[in-house]
Subunit: 340 residues, 2 copies
């Protein structure tokens, strides 16, 4: 790797979104007098009578959770998207708006309130993977739904309002901004090269070996060349499947293994239950030809230097471009050393 990338300010291109990230490697040594985050290493009980996600407890809308034993899915009680709202469109000069239909679900990863994905057995994570697959298919088969966004907000610093291990699925009628960008860039590449953009990128990464964190038979965990968040990573399937429902049983277990490895490494990094938002980007369920899609899962963790100091994406980042100090290669080195 060109040593300039480890020493001088530069920008790197995100092949999936067409956007740039500003990298300032020389800046990692700046002192910090700003906000410190609270460390959330409390010992939680396996069942919390006040948790609205624990088995057998009553939710705010009066519904009682079943006595679930592994994964439990329900429709979000405060869904940002609904299927019942009217269809409308506003196109008045420079005011442009459109109704959006959708279904939002919550998915509890485990009945055990004290756990996170990092603490769960690969076998149990595989059940989460299977549920994601089933929900992608179920929601995707709904006529009103053309895209299914699976994600998790982990930790209070990531806006998570309940420490019970859970994620969300927001599915909707149109493609959100980030998905639209990746759709366009993957399609353009596929049309030109007749091969998957991310598949070809993965080949290059496996040769370069500088940003690979972990690899099993079916998946690679790496720090993307254009990573924005300090310890951002991506789980990429070796075969260019368009969506998670295409995985075989063995591949589903290998995916769970990759999730287990990276979340454990994260927890080891600053000795804290590591906060992040994660999400799966995959083919829209719009019935179109989506062969250009190569699905992947990304982790966007905010912590920068320790359990209490995060990277703020603020002024310059909001008005200019995302900016980072430590390089993707440095981050990969540190995480790789923590994979056990």
């Amino acid at each position: 790797m060109n040593s300039n990338l480890q020493e001088y300010s530069h920008k790197r291109f995100n092949i999936l979104t067409g956007e740039w990230v500003l990298v300032s490697p020389h800046r990692a040594k700046r002192p910090w007098q700003g906000q410190n985050e609270a460390v959330a290493n409390e010992n939680r009980p396996s069942h919390d009578p006040d948790c609205y996600l624990c088995a057998g407890n009553t939710r705010i809308n009066g519904e009682v959770n079943p006595d679930y034993k592994d994964v439990f899915v329900f429709t979000n009680d405060f869904a940002a998207l609904q299927t019942t709202s009217p269809v409308f469109s506003i196109d008045e000069g420079l005011f442009k708006a459109e109704s959006e239909q959708g279904i939002c679900k919550v998915i509890c990863f485990s009945p055990d309130h004290s756990k996170s994905l990092a603490d769960m057995a690969i076998e149990d994570i595989t059940k989460v993977v299977k549920t994601w697959q089933a929900e992608y298919e179920l929601l995707g088969s709904n006529e009103a739904i053309n895209y299914v966004q699976i994600f998790e907000n982990k930790g209070a610093v990531m806006g998570c309002s309940n420490p019970h291990p859970h994620g969300q699925i927001w599915s909707q009628s149109t493609l959100p901004n980030e998905v639209e960008k990746k759709d366009v860039h993957q399609k353009t590449y596929y049309d030109t090269h007749k091969s998957s953009l991310l598949g070809d990128y993965l080949k290059q990464e496996l040769e370069a070996k500088e940003r690979i964190i972990y690899e099993n038979d079916h998946f690679v965990v790496l720090t993307p060349f254009w990573a924005v968040w300090p310890f951002e990573t991506m789980i990429v399937p070796k075969y260019n499947y368009t969506n998670i429902s295409e995985l075989s049983d063995a591949e589903s277990i290998a995916f769970a293994d990759a999730i287990s490895k990276i979340t454990k490494a994260y927890d080891a990094l600053f000795q804290v239950s590591f906060p992040y938002s994660s999400g799966i980007h995959q083919a829209p369920t719009n019935g179109e030809d989506n062969t250009h899609w190569h699905w992947h899962m990304s982790f966007y963790p905010p912590l920068l230097r320790s359990a209490t100091v995060k990277k703020f994406m603020v002024g310059y980042e909001m008005f200019g471009s995302p900016q980072r100090d430590i390089t993707a290669e440095q981050a990969a080195d540190r995480l790789r050393a923590l994979v056990v």
Copy 2:
């Protein structure tokens, strides 16, 4: 205004960036059990011997601040961008990077450590405006600099590491992502209509009257139709100047007045020194024809419901699109009532 916009999920189009924001008006009533922010209403002294921005104090690199009386500008001691780094370019298959040159400055708004823009006299804010103008011209005249980003991170929650009233200026050789988007959309519109996109939008807003918060002879403060942050606002000049250095003296004072009005309204909203990131988007300094630019200043404040509960732009927002609960019209109503 179509009442559907106040009741049902929809997305709104940002004419400047070409991106969408998801609005879920029915969701504003959801309970909050998540993270609370610390309230920063401490009484600060007018001079703090430990503050590296106060007059006469020594900074980390050993330099001593002058005994400044109003505004003080210096080059950032931990600049993310420098002019001394080598020029290089990497184009290896799907790895694409380019060196980036630049100059980063810090601008102290006042020697008074206890103040913020909201507490300053319009006369003193005008001095800040004059400094922004001078810096835009000075940095812009440097051959290596093609864009000048003026911004402020206010409050610990916005990553501000020092409460002394100050902002920053990051100037660089290429256009950052957000500026690039606005450049393209303004240019396309200008080429088609031979008039300013934002100027025409402003006319429509002044007729609709639903999102206007304040207006003086030369400026309008409004909540943009496509606002992302709960109480996001924009200061738009009535005349379509491409950059702030084109303002007359009277217009500079009117700009300072607009800043004063909106920052005071913000502080009144939740009875707290209101955190935000603000920034000025204006014409690049690349020597090209930038008549399509209509400069403007935006405020992106994170607080949602109170001094302690902010809006988190996390999972869905990072992987999908930005999402908001209260509508732009509701936010404008509340802020308008607080302008004195």
